[in-house]
């Protein structure tokens, strides 16, 4: 079956710093993500994981190279267009949830569609189905400080999914969670990915987390080092494979943050 390309990055480079003290963090990355994939990005600290995610997610700009999301070339867009693009086409899940403390769970989740043209009733339906999948329906009127970390991250995930994005970016979504909440959240993300066909790209340092992915991309020193496909392997087997690559890749200097 021919799958559509959701994201296509070509020769993406990103440098930081002023003249004389330039540090190239991304050194020419080519990456293609197909519709319905669940891609994990791993690598030691300083490999450029977060920079890559920021650049792909239109939060930061590339120094060189082009990025296509769907048919749109985001490297040529203006800031205002990028904002609209993020709002309409992308979803975000952050390590520390980034929920607004002053809003209830439901208000937080509905935030991304608040400026869009989505009808209130449609938004309400979306909210119900997503809250159902993520198991946070009962929390709708609670404030973030009243719920647990796992529940917060589910809220954050629901917020990322509410506008039916073509691509969801997750930056260390399990980084602040205990292992039980983490695996439960990842299981849910896997379900969402499989059942609803949502394309997800997740940055993580945790081999357990990346074992839920359908493909894992390893970065080293700003370049793609290798890739692993899960295929029909069990999660356990995939996990062992990931560990092996990680061992070769970073020795004992595995990113701990």
């Amino acid at each position: 079956m021919e799958q559509n390309t959701v994201l296509h990055a070509q020769n993406v480079r990103k440098s930081f710093g002023a003249r004389g003290n330039v540090q190239e963090v991304l050194r020419g990355i080519d990456l293609r993500v197909l519709e319905g994939e669940f891609v994990g990005i791993m690598g030691p600290s300083g490999a450029g994981k977060t920079t890559l995610l920021n650049v792909l997610a239109t939060i930061d700009r590339t120094t060189e190279g082009s990025i296509l999301i769907g048919d749109a070339d985001i490297s040529k867009m203006k800031d205002r267009e990028l904002s609209a693009f993020r709002r309409d086409k992308l979803g975000f899940i952050f390590q520390d949830y980034n929920l607004l403390d002053t809003l209830t769970v439901k208000e937080n989740i509905l935030l991304p569609v608040s400026l869009g043209k989505m009808h209130k009733r449609v938004a309400e339906d979306h909210f119900k189905s997503i809250a159902d999948i993520l198991g946070i329906k009962e929390l709708a009127n609670k404030y973030p400080h009243e719920i647990s970390g796992g529940q917060k991250q589910r809220t954050s995930a629901a917020r990322a999914l509410i506008n039916k994005p073509s691509l969801v970016f997750a930056d260390e979504p399990t980084g602040a969670l205990d292992s039980k909440s983490a695996s439960s959240l990842l299981g849910t993300l896997e379900d969402v990915n499989k059942q609803r066909g949502v394309t997800i790209m997740m940055v993580t340092h945790d081999p357990v987390a990346s074992s839920y992915c359908s493909r894992v991309v390893f970065l080293k020193d700003g370049k793609i080092y290798s890739e692993l496909y899960r295929g029909d392997k069990t999660r356990q087997a995939f996990f062992q494979e990931i560990l092996k690559v990680q061992g070769v890749l970073g020795g004992d200097s595995v990113d701990t943050l």
Partner: protein, 645 residues
């Protein structure tokens, strides 16, 4: 690295947080210094004599109080903003004592700098203020500003006291806090809670009810319980205002929010939600700001109206430029002639008119119509309208056999009396009921002769005279000599002649222009002080709101970063923030204005003239200054949102 190096470094690093506090300090110093200079300026002292000195002293204490509160408040806000930094110092091993020393050293350096700059700037602007003051009190000689050592010393002493106070504040702040608390201080701020339905609804409505009741009562204070009424009005409006900020607004927002069922939208999230979140913590300061600004406004409008209407009011009390005379066979005609001869010699043209007045005993006998504050008996001066016309006074002619009532000293009590009412004129043998068809503003004769004046038409006047005056009653007929200066530019000159003249004859001065001048001086000073204090107060409260908003903006930075990541543009976010700012500045402004309108209305019996215009001007200035601060905060928010991503 010594402590001093650390201080310099941290000041350099914090300059963008500091500069506002620094300006606020400088500003306080400048204003206080200007005030102190004026207080000790020989020209002011000479011009004013005793009254001005006292007024300045009282105002100086008030100013000190405002400036002190403001600096302490601003310092508290800045301490909270820097709590993380203070925590960090302690984390790397500085003792609490060392941290306190660091902060105090910083504070002292900053304050000393502000003091030096403030006094320097104060010297420049104090001349401007002196000119303004002299202009207001109507002095137009040459003014030389002398450098006042006393003023400098006084300013330095006052601000040293303020530095000590803020240092103490820092010491207490550092001693009291725990390391963990310091790191979290910036995040503090209560969590949003759902209001308890019944209790909140009750308190919310009670707040509005109390304010409404206070307003209602403020219009009906004029009775025997005046003082108690005033206290009740104050208590209800202040409590109401507090409840409004503490409960009502949050409660209303909660209702709106509940109705939205989660579809709050970006604008609502940035305005309603954050406002609800912060209302509890801000209720105290918003209440104080609102109530005090209402008082300031009322004071400003009142003094402005006094000043503004000085000419009009003096004229209504002193309708004649000069007046001589008395009852019985007094010798004033000769005196008047001496005066007018002198005017002739100086080439001042005038209108001279003798006015005959009958003095009878009067009695209000429809007691329920007359306010209980006046005694039943009064001394009535009957004047014919015809002679007043001849003296050049523009006057409305009463109908036949009725009279108009004039008495500037009780006008404020009488003006609400229902007309017509009757008074009984008596002497031992006769009595006559006269119907009063109008209570008019001001006098028709100059004090001290005025008393209660009844103006009648000429025919009625003759009739009364015939009825009451016989051979033994001649002492009840008086003649007053009105002198009106025809050329207004010569009034000052004529007044001077009059004052020399009264001095020679050992009499008191009662002339229009002299009275006008001294009232101008008095009200000019009043408006200067009220304006000065009002300005200081406005700018202080505006800055406090600004500082608070700055802190809020910094605390919300993370939310803005999230929102921008979610794909909202700076403009989208700013729209919500502007809404919130309109609220933050608008609500205290509107409620303050409302309070002051009712306060001015309640006090308007003190003012004879219409004070709509001066009150509007004072309010417009108030709105303008708040607008500037609101725009400043919006600018700060814009900067924060832009930098968030």
């Amino acid at each position: 690295m010594t402590l001093f190096d650390l201080v310099i470094r941290s000041m350099r690093k914090n300059i963008k947080h500091y500069y506002l506090y620094f300006f606020a300090l400088i500003f306080s110093v400048v204003l206080y210094f200007v005030f102190a200079t004026l207080q000790h300026d020989p020209a002011v002292v000479k011009q004013s004599g005793g009254t001005m000195g006292t007024a300045f002293k009282v105002a100086g204490i008030l100013l000190l109080f405002i400036a002190g509160t403001f600096v302490v408040y601003a310092n508290a806000i800045f301490l909270k903003r820097r709590s993380r930094e203070i925590g960090l110092y302690q984390l790397i091993g500085l003792t609490k004592g060392a941290v306190a020393r660091l902060l105090i050293l910083e504070n002292t350096l900053l304050s000393a700098g502000a003091m030096a700059i403030g006094i320097g700037a104060g010297m420049i602007v104090s001349r401007l203020f002196l000119l303004l003051l002299m202009k207001l009190v109507g002095f137009d000689g040459f003014i030389e500003l002398t450098f006042s050592k006393t003023a400098v010393l006084q300013t330095i002493l006052v601000f040293i006291a303020i530095i000590l106070l803020t240092s103490l504040q820092m010491l207490v702040a550092v001693r009291r806090t725990t390391l963990l608390g310091l790191f979290n201080a910036e995040k503090q701020g209560e969590h949003p809670k759902k209001p308890k339905a019944v209790r909140s609804a009750f308190l919310a409505i009670l707040g509005i009810g109390l304010i409404a009741f206070g307003y209602w009562l403020s219009g009906r204070m004029m009775n025997a319980l005046l003082f108690i009424n005033m206290l009740v009005v104050l208590a209800t409006t202040i409590t109401g205002t507090y409840l409004l900020f503490r409960v009502t607004i949050s409660w209303l927002f909660y209702q709106v929010r509940k109705r939205k069922q989660g579809h709050l939208g970006l604008n609502g999230s940035l305005s309603i939600a954050t406002l609800m979140h912060r209302m509890k913590g801000n209720a105290n300061s918003l209440t104080i700001i609102t109530v005090l600004s209402a008082m300031t406004l009322a004071m400003l409008a009142g003094s402005y109206s006094l000043y503004y209407s000085t000419g009009k009011e003096t004229r209504s009390i002193y309708p004649h430029d000069f007046m001589f005379g008395g009852y019985g066979d007094a010798q004033e005609e000769k005196e008047t002639k001496q005066f007018t001869d002198e005017l002739d010699r100086q080439g001042i043209s005038y209108l001279y008119t003798p006015i005959e007045v009958l003095n009878l005993d009067g009695r209000f006998f429809e007691e329920e119509t007359i306010t209980s504050w006046l005694s039943e008996m009064f001394s009535a001066n009957i004047v014919s309208e015809k002679q007043l016309q001849q003296a050049g006074i523009d006057i409305e002619i009463p109908d036949a056999r009725t009279a108009y009532f004039y008495d500037a000293s009780v006008y404020w009590l009488m003006k609400t009396t229902e007309v017509p009412f009757s008074v009984k004129l008596t002497n031992p043998k006769n009595e006559l009921d006269v119907s009063i068809t109008k209570v008019k503003e001001g006098n028709i004769l100059n004090p001290p002769f005025a008393g209660t004046q009844l103006v009648v038409d000429d025919a009625f006047y003759q009739e009364i005279k015939e009825q009451f005056i016989n051979q033994e009653e001649t002492h009840r007929v008086g003649t007053f000599f009105s002198v009106m200066i025809l050329n207004k530019d010569q009034q000052a000159e004529a007044s001077e002649i009059y004052h020399d003249f009264t001095k020679e004859n050992d009499r008191l001065n009662f002339d229009y222009y002299g009275q006008y001048e001294s009232t101008m001086q008095y009200t000019g000073l009043l408006i200067f002080i009220a304006g000065f204090l009002g300005l200081v107060f406005l700018i202080s409260t505006g800055s406090i709101l600004y500082f608070k908003q700055m802190t809020e903006a910094d605390q919300e930075k993370r939310s803005y970063a999230t929102l921008r990541q979610l794909g909202f543009t700076v403009q989208d976010i700013m729209r919500g923030i502007v809404r919130k700012q309109v609220f933050v500045f608008g609500v205290p402004l509107v409620i303050g204005l409302l309070h002051s309108i009712f306060a001015i209305k309640a006090a308007s019996f003190l003012f004879m003239s219409d004070i709509t215009l001066p009150a509007s001007i004072a309010m417009a200035i108030y709105v303008l200054i708040y607008l500037v601060f609101a725009l400043l905060t919006v600018g700060y928010y814009r900067k924060t949102v832009k930098a968030a991503l």
